[in-house]
Amino acid sequence: MRRVLLALLLSLCGAPLAAQARRDVILATTTSTQDTGLLDSLVPRFEAGCGCRVKTIAVGTGQALALGARGEADVVLVHAPSLEQRYVAEGRFRNRRLVMTNDFILVGPPADPAGLGQATSLKEAFQRLAAGSAPFASRADSSGTNILELNQWKAAGLNPTGGWYLQVGQGMAATLRIASEKGAYTLTDRGTYLAVRQGLALAVLYQGAPELLNIYHVMEVNPETFPNVNQDGGRAFADFMVSPRTQEFIRTFGAARFGQPLFTPQAGKREEDLLQPAR
């Protein structure tokens, strides 16, 4: 028996399990980029080009930014513009660059008990939700989606509380599933919705308001604040995300599988330009 165990031990230890020091790039990002499958397609391309490994940590944008802001990551791909600007101003990140957009939509039970379909403004849509005729599933995880949702309640002068307001504390795809099962409304990015909508009893009930534009930026963790970040790796990944080839890949990503592309490439543009014209 001892010999069997010893043989097992040796064969297991022979495997290269330790981290490749210094060459790994830690990317902290939001769940939507992973749940849609975008990163699973893009990351291997980047790795092949740079000969390094990317460690993708997919959490809510709030947590991704918090990881980066403590120097635990090298680069972040996130979608909470107001929060991002604050961190850049604090010197925690640098080189904030626009990568792509999609939009947020309000989805809910196809019967639409809250009458969201009749809402004429985003404010009215949230007021109808707050009437509580059906549950609303909130990410409640400080993700970019959650931050935008909370801003909308505030803008409508509402304070969402009560049994109808479900704080689920999970990623976007999991939240959509909960909403579907509970007959609840939720706010989602369109990409994740398209990627997982099969088998969900959720319809798009409100869309198109300029406030609902979902803007993804890539930012490098500032090596002047955190000397031990992988500066070159972080820079290389950020450059890769805004490179013409990657942008072209994003332009068509998901079209074959989901009937329409999940993201619109926007590298090189300015945030202000995106927000002005009607979409």
Binding site: A21, I26, R70, A173
Partner: protein, 232 residues
């Protein structure tokens, strides 16, 4: 109902076809949890034997702590291991966070109390006069230890099975310290969580069936080892 049936059919098909994605994740889980179990065996058995048969002040407290550790919540372990291994943490310079090695560390912490506690209990179950008799018959201390270990082997193998079962099935610590990175730290449990949330139920089911099968095979192997000893 369809989902359940189709999911299981697809899941089994994925396994039978030897789907590379499922196989890769399975090997990683086996390696990571296997190493963690072996390390806790190497540390936990001697520690358990010591706690089981020696008498020293504070021994009850030590046993109490170990027994509490048997129910250590994996998420709490994950959190504390993360705090230590993050770049800003005291062991950040090791560059271990978000690597399979980090999962092994966390799983060792989860399995070690299980192996230690059950070994200590197994040794205590032996007749205390046995050791005295062995020593009286002229056995060296080392020989006596080996004999006791042999006597308690059933329970000790059971301890190993319990330790392996605890780590192969935990998800919280692996998710937090490993990061669920594709081709690198995505193990069976974290992959199951991800695929479920993505709505890929067939893959999720395949992964859980593999997880069950793997646990069964390893337990079977250990049981055979255990029972072969019994027939001798």
């Amino acid at each position: 109902m369809d989902l359940l049936f189709d999911g299981i059919t697809h899941g089994v098909a994925l396994i039978l076809r030897g789907d590379p994605q499922v196989m890769e994740i399975m090997w990683l889980s086996l390696r990571v949890s296997g190493i963690a179990t072996l390390v806790s065996l190497l540390l936990g058995v001697p520690l358990g034997m010591m706690l089981g048969q020696s008498r020293f002040p504070g021994r009850r407290l030590a046993l109490g702590v170990i027994n509490t550790g048997m129910g250590l919540p994996p998420v709490a372990v994950g959190l504390f291991v993360s705090l230590f291994l993050w770049r800003s943490g005291p062991l950040g310079f090791l560059d271990l966070i978000y690597s399979p090695a980090a999962i092994i560390v966390a799983q060792c912490i989860i399995a070690l109390p299980v192996v230690t506690g059950l070994t200590a209990a197994a040794i205590q179950q032996l007749d205390p006069r046995l050791r005295l008799q062995l020593l009286g018959l002229g056995a060296s201390r080392l020989q006596a230890l080996r004999f006791l270990l042999r006597e308690a082997r059933f329970s000790i193998i059971a301890a190993v099975m319990a330790g392996f079962g605890a780590v192969i099935s935990e998800v919280g610590a692996s998710m937090m310290v490993g990061g669920n990175i594709l081709h690198y730290t995505r193990v069976l449990t974290t992959a199951t969580v991800l695929e479920t949330s993505k709505g890929n139920f067939d893959i999720a089911i395949a992964l859980s069936v593999v997880l069950l099968g793997l646990t069964f095979l390893v337990s079977m192997l250990l049981t055979v080892l255990q029972q072969r000893g019994a027939e001798r």
